[in-house]
Amino acid sequence: MTVIKTADEAKQDRAYLQSLTELLYQLADDDFIISFRGSEWLGLAPHIEEDVSFSSITQNTMGHAVLYYQLLEELGEGEADILAHDRSSEKRRNAVYLEKKNGEGDYIEEPYYDWALTVIRQYLYETFKKVKLEALLQSSYVPLADTAQKVLMEQTYHLAHWKTWVRQLQDSTDEAKSRLQFRIEEAWDEFLDVLELGPEAKEMEKHQLIVSEEELQQQWLADVKDTLTYIPDKPLQKTNGSGRNGEHTEDLTQALNTLNEVYEMDKNAVW
């Protein structure tokens, strides 16, 4: 296996570089957008203890996105801040399911957020994130493998947190069960996008950046079946489009308009 130790080395091979940057955009944008959705929740969680834990997870997750944007910066993609704030919707590689609004309403006025959506989304995402990070430990791009190791240290707690929520709720009242089931059904229609690596998937595997999509998906499904007591009897789909292909919804536009509002006031200013 060829091991690529530095950004300069990676830049020597155009095909390698292309797959690597594609993978990094997916990793960065996924964490970035789900952290954004998390930050909208502050002060609205079911109890104060949860507000503290959830905001800690959200903050760590933003930290992970920053690490990936920095790897992209090293590879000559531009400044991390610009990558995070100044890329249009079509350029974003996050999965569509992760950009979905937390519920009806706005985060400042009348936020009718749904805790069931958040628990299911966070749990499914963190489960997959762990599978992916563990695969990335063997990545041919050493700076990425090192980053994965760092992220995994925090991420283990995040997954444990959401797993606890799933276990508590799916095992409680009928209302909680049915709310969770509704969101699991919904996730089954949309989650495939998260599980994919996009048009470069085969190349990524060839360059030993990460394992195959099939391998990742199988591991994810096995983990999920271990925890969820309800699994829909239907194939996983991506009915809202493929974020890996740059297809996105109005929800992402709303997110981008919010998260770059101040940045957009003056892109050349120092903030």
Binding site: G43, L44, E49, V52, S56, E109, E110, Y113, A176
Partner: protein, 328 residues
Amino acid sequence: MYNFVEHGGKETSTINEDPVKYEQFMKRIEAGEKIEADDWMPEEYRQTLIKLISMHGISEIMGALPEKEWTPKAPTLKRKLGIMAKVQDEMGHGQLLLRVAEDLIKPYGKQREDLMNDLLTGDLKFHNVFHMETRTWADAGVVGWLVDGAAIISQTNMLDASYGPYQRALQRICAEEVFHAQHGEAIIMELAEGTEQQRNMLQDAVNRWWPALLMFFGPDSASTTGSSKQEVTTKYKIRKSSNEELRQAFLDKYLPRVFSLGLTIPDETLRYDEEKEYWIYQQPDWNEFKKIISNNGPRSKERIRLREISYEKNRWVRQALAPAPAYS
């Protein structure tokens, strides 16, 4: 945040206390001993602590909301991480303090849920500054720099408070507040040294926040707004300095910094009296202050509404977590 203790508080006296126990208690206070949750304490002391600490706790929680408005909008990755860390800390302070308050209300058969309900009914007030609007990103900076700066001064004043659980919570809170003020100051510095638009935004925020910052420490004396429990908190060694002493300390610390950044204060009468060694300033409108803290401030309703929505929307979660049989 004790300055609110004087409002809406149930008047208690020490007349009905067991004189022997009371005397022993006061000896402990005067000897600088720390009182613990399970120790005997006079009703007046307990009531004062409940008011003080539950208000402080709920103010930390409500205090995260104005900055939350700017958390998703922070203009760089570094600022996003900084403000996320800050709002998380504030929630953590709220949690820490509510736990201290919970122990104090236990003898009355009350719990956390009652405190949260008191917030929704208006019985539990939160700090005046958190009723204010945060109109621009500069407001997020001013909150971090000057509101947290003011909080540091008022909380440092109680670092040696006679009630042990509160005193210990304050040690940790004050340590974190220092980082908050640094975070706020970093935002302010960039704006102050930035473009004309950024400078204007900052000056505008300072102008709007000025009266609220003066109000932060509470009125000078009882005569301004009616009764005052300043004396009670001093008697029991919960606090050291008076409202006005704290406000003067704040002005001493921050006005030179404000001026050195080329910013102005919207008060033409503001000056330092060299002889008397204090700041002379235009009193804020204390009637407005009373209005604000009785939940009629610029953003009071909207912020309380957020807690209401959270309470309603998460009812099913509370029921799911409650031990069977589920409560309504």
